[in-house]
Symmetry: C2
Subunit: 144 residues, 2 copies
DNA sequence: TATTGTTATACTCTATAACTATA
DNA sequence: TATAGTTATAGAGTATAACAATA
């Protein structure tokens, strides 16, 4: 039985992402982390003092959904908040957070390397440009 | 504020898929369909008489999750079941199902065309081969 | 014994509306 | 008036375990 959807880039994009995410979550499971936690830790580390609104905008996580998300990371002692003004709080990794991030980075690098290795050598240079292009919503009719 | 994850193919793959899916769901909303419904209708149409177990295996939907999924499509009069033997039932589109599928296909074709148009011309030939390669789990160390 | 369909259940992710307190 | 953080809630999507009926 063949999959009649296999010629549709949108469908294959979804399946590829789902498979990759499942694999990454498996690999992160020993740290009791999910891929979303990992991306969040990386972002805070790259931008210490970032607010949760800004972080949410970058990662495309709604403000409302950041709350339980952040609460968990804080409860586990990986992220701390520091008041910036009366309504804003900057996010920082704790030293424990940096420690778990180091392990996380190792797992992610291994995962990403494995991902790219599935692609035939000759096509590898196109992977990131194509994915970035697919990601961006059409702005003007460039290269129609 | 830059996204420090933008160099990771796995991350961009996820974001690209999420954005594409959201857009497709928007486009399908007038038909009160979701992308998962659409792929299911296409599959049944391509393989009339397929069982839900087989369909679930192809689409990577668990048997247990097929039940409410199929029930909705049947309730809306788009899919009917026919007993094959005592425990197996073949799935078929109703004429109403074929009618909604025709509209669905038009939306999907337009969506897929828009998706591919985001990619610079020179890279387009690589899109599907790369996505298919990323989808497949590594078997042996081919092309390391 | 293995498979099909089913029920029940739980967790993640996402989406929206509305509230508060601050800027 | 707009924004940051929060609460509550709902709907997809996905995962597992267990069961009955049948092959």
């Amino acid at each position: 039985m063949k999959d009649p959807l296999i010629g549709l880039p949108g469908y294959v994009l979804r399946r590829a992402a789902a498979a990759a995410l499942a694999e990454l979550n498996e690999r992160l499971a020993p740290l009791a982390l999910r891929h979303s936690d990992a991306s969040f830790l990386i972002l805070i580390d790259a931008s210490p003092g970032i607010t949760q609104s800004t972080a949410g905008r970058i990662l495309d996580i709604q403000r409302a959904n950041m709350v339980p998300f952040l609460a968990r990371l804080e409860r586990r002692g990986w992220v701390k908040r520091k008041k910036v003004d009366g309504r804003t709080q900057g996010l920082m990794l704790t030293s424990e957070g940096r420690s778990v991030l180091a392990k996380t980075r190792a797992i992610i690098e291994d995962f990403e390397a494995g991902l790219i290795k599935r692609v035939p050598r000759k096509l590898r240079a196109g992977v990131l440009p194509i994915l970035l292009a697919l990601w961006n919503r059409p702005t003007e009719e460039v290269d129609p």
